[in-house]
């Protein structure tokens, strides 16, 4: 168990190091998020109050699209030179490999989110600083859900034709309960009505728990054929 967690950290560090060197996924994801944010300001012509009502929803749309670009890369990164074989042949258990990759994607997506949040606020004249810490908490929980399922699907689709197209088709429908929860909570937080978020937050947490345990358990079937 301890060995496995350690190996997961090695894998996460490796993924982050290669990503920061090439910045392939990060650049694509950040610029994509910025473009979508810009498009929002053209797409909606809303009053201030109305915009606050949908603020959480729009925010998570940006995040989930940016997330697709990040998780897509996760296992594809191992395809050149057949690195995946070497990792699976190593003594590390499959769940450790999976956990490491998820941690790396999680950190990357969180970085993209933290970059786009202020831009989002700025473009749309939105006050969010007062709710930053609770918002950050929601972001952490929901982003974990997005990455753990996304990286699992990245492993599922690694040998699939047209995998870049297939991943969102499989991933987005699954994310709906998580996103519904996260959107509601974020809107409430930004509007400053943080009274009734516990119920929605429960869905986000339930999603995280269910899919983390399911994915960690099933990953061996995915990786060792």
């Amino acid at each position: 168990m301890k060995q496995g967690l350690l190996a997961a950290l090695f894998i996460a560090r490796k993924d982050l190091r290669t990503e920061f060197r090439t910045k392939e996924a990060l650049n694509a994801s950040v610029s994509f998020a910025l473009v979508v944010l810009m498009l929002f300001s053209f797409a909606f012509d809303l009053g201030r109050e109305e915009f606050y009502d949908i603020s959480g929803g729009l925010l998570w749309l940006v995040y989930v699209f940016a997330g697709a670009l990040i998780v897509n890369r996760s296992f594809i990164r191992e395809v050149p030179n057949d690195c995946l074989d070497v990792l699976i042949a190593s003594p590390m258990p499959p769940w450790a490999l999976f956990l490491g990759k998820t941690i790396a994607s999680f950190v990357l997506l969180l970085i993209v989110e933290l970059i786009s949040l202020p831009v989002y606020g700025l473009f749309n004249n939105l006050q969010w600083v007062h709710a930053f810490w609770p918002l950050f908490g929601v972001m952490t929980l929901a982003t974990w859900g997005i990455t753990i399922t996304g990286v699992a699907f990245s492993a599922v689709t690694v040998n699939v034709r047209l995998r870049e197209l297939m991943l969102p088709v499989l991933h987005y429908p699954l994310l709906i309960p998580l996103l519904v929860g996260a959107m509601q909570v974020s809107t409430a937080l930004i509007k400053g009505e943080a009274s009734d978020i516990m119920q929605e937050l429960r869905i986000v947490i339930a999603f995280d728990l269910i899919f983390t345990s399911l994915a960690l358990y099933l990953i061996e079937f995915i990786l060792v054929g």
Binding site: V169, Q199, F211, L218, F221
Partner: protein, 226 residues
């Protein structure tokens, strides 16, 4: 043997269906509140339950495949999902027509419609992914995992929408509230039985195709190895 079973199921289903349609349209009077359109119930509800039944079969078979690695389970799983998709579509379309008359709208994002639509989308991904995986064992394994993920998601979808959208026009299911006239029960049950029979025939047809497809894969490999 299997061909015979398909024919028997198909013919039996058709005969029962004709008898049932006769009961529904000719014998039964219209419903008090909704008039004739209320009879949409006899196809709408059985289609939904048939779809659920086969989704359930698919999930059980997916788990069984991961445990046993027996391709029979994989074939049953994919066949069931495909047939369940068809009946989900029937459920959605009849519901939409019904809603158009009663509520004046084609679609509303309420709990039942949305979760049904989500089921459709989740398993549509499953059906789209399958042909994109070339190797049969891998295809079956990945599909089983997708089916399990999708099944785990559905309760969460229901939970999420229940919180999100309290206003709903869809009535509570008549089966739970007991709001159905006693004379309506037999045709309703028969409707479900008919659809289950037809669905079983379709699954059997689809099952054979899955076997042939695996044979094709295996021949391709054989050619490759020569």
């Amino acid at each position: 043997m299997r061909d015979k079973a398909i024919y028997i199921l198909g013919i039996l289903g058709t005969l029962l269906m004709i008898w049932n349609l006769h009961t529904i349209f000719v014998v039964l009077p219209g419903e008090a509140a909704q008039g004739q359109i209320g009879k949409m119930l006899f196809i709408h509800v059985p289609a939904a339950i048939t779809a659920y039944s086969y989704y359930a079969v698919a999930v059980v078979c997916s788990i069984a495949f991961l445990v046993t690695k027996n391709f029979k389970y994989d074939s049953v799983a994919v066949s069931s999902i495909e047939v369940a998709q068809v009946f989900t579509l029937v459920n959605l379309v009849t519901g939409s027509l019904w809603g158009h008359v009663i509520w004046g709208i084609w679609w509303t994002w309420d709990l039942r419609l949305t979760s049904q639509f989500m089921c459709f989308m989740l398993y549509l991904g499953y059906l789209l992914m399958r042909p994109a995986i070339a190797e049969a064992t891998q295809r079956a394994t990945m599909s089983a995992i997708l089916a399990i993920f999708a099944a785990a998601d559905i309760p969460l979808v229901v939970m999420a929408i229940r919180l999100h959208n309290v206003r709903t026009q869809h009535p509570a299911p008549v089966l739970e509230t007991g709001g159905v006239d006693a004379t309506w029960w037999p045709p309703l049950a028969t409707g479900y039985f008919v659809l289950m029979l037809i669905a079983a025939a379709l699954v059997l047809v689809r099952l054979r195709q899955e076997t042939v497809r695996r044979e094709i894969d295996s021949l391709r490999r054989e050619l490759h190895a020569m």
